[in-house]
Amino acid sequence: MSGQAHNTDSQAETGQQERKELRAYGWGIGLALLLTVVPFGLVQWMAMPRFTLLIVIGAFALVQMLVHFRCFLHIGLRQKREDLQLILFSALLLTIMVAGTIWIMASLATRMAMPGSP
């Protein structure tokens, strides 16, 4: 009898867990939609100056990436392995290499007075 009670108890828990995870996917797609539609709309109707627009697009993209990592890839602050550390380290490497490349090449373009240099 107690075994049966335990069984239904864990079943209820599983159902609760499932609803919670379904909600996470729902939040994920809802937020992602919002974070996609707004920058597309801003670009389509040119609602602000170019530089501000670029900053806004970048910010929306970063937030949307975080939403995807959280809601679709289920990366939390408490992972058993070094999943989150691996993301952060890769992000650090990416920042150094990508920003470094763009910086050096833009500086080169300016010094060589190449077309399109700022």
């Binding site: 867990q17 994920g28 797609i29 890839l73 289920h74 890769s90 990508v98 490349t101 399109g116």
Partner: protein, 212 residues
């Protein structure tokens, strides 16, 4: 919440964890999923460097067509929606796998994902062919070479994902939901969601950034 449920809040590996309902499979998954996660992060570095190449080549149009002449925002928006929807449907497939909703539901969600993925590729190929029609071929300028290095690289990944998905459908049909098949579905889920994240960077940097 019971202690077991509280403990379960710690994710053992990236992606939707199988949970205690799958017994030994959960332990086997932890190692394999971490290994695949390491691969995905190295793939992210590859994409990052191709992005850097693209951004530094932005002004190298050599008098050829630029972003404003070639990009079609409506088509990109449709592609974005298709890929986002496919990410969600794959999430539903993951839930069907985890909570054992039966093979039919799992396969249906996977087929919907496949159709959305193929739809995405169709729109992308249409984009490329209309770029070709406007003189936007890879050999025209450094900018176009960099573009066709970056965007089709993502498209190639999606193609690989679609082929992998078809193989998994075959595996489900042939072997049922054994450990190998489960691990395949879970790794493809990570791959698929990862490609959607790369697409966020592509539509933001390449398309929206190019059209401002």
């Amino acid at each position: 919440m019971s202690p077991q449920a509280a403990m379960y809040q710690v994710n053992k590996y990236p992606g939707l964890n199988l949970g205690p309902g799958h017994g030994q499979d959960e332990e086997a998954a932890a190692t394999v999923m971490f290994g695949f996660w390491v691969f995905l992060m190295s793939d992210a570095i590859l994409f990052g460097m191709v992005f850097a190449t693209y951004v530094t080549s932005l002004h190298g149009t050599a008098g050829g067509p630029g972003p404003h002449d070639l990009y079609d925002i409506k088509s990109i928006f449709i592609e974005t929606m298709l890929l986002l929807a496919s990410s969600f449907t794959f999430g539903m497939a993951s839930l069907a796998l985890k909570y054992k909703h039966g093979r039919i539901r799992l396969v249906s969600w996977m087929v919907v994902t496949l159709v959305l993925g193929i739809g995405f590729l169709g729109f992308e190929l249409h984009d490329f062919s209309s770029m070709f029609a406007h003189g936007g071929v890879p050999s025209r300028s450094g900018f176009l070479s960099a573009f066709f290095d970056l965007v089709p690289l993502h498209g190639l990944h999606v193609t690989a994902g679609c082929i992998w998905l078809i193989c998994l459908l075959g595996q489900i049909g042939r072997y049922g939901l054994d450990l190998k098949t489960k691990l395949g579905i879970m790794r493809l889920a990570l791959f698929w969601h990862f490609l959607d994240i790369v697409w966020i960077a592509i539509f933001s940097v390449v398309y929206l950034g190019g059209l401002t």
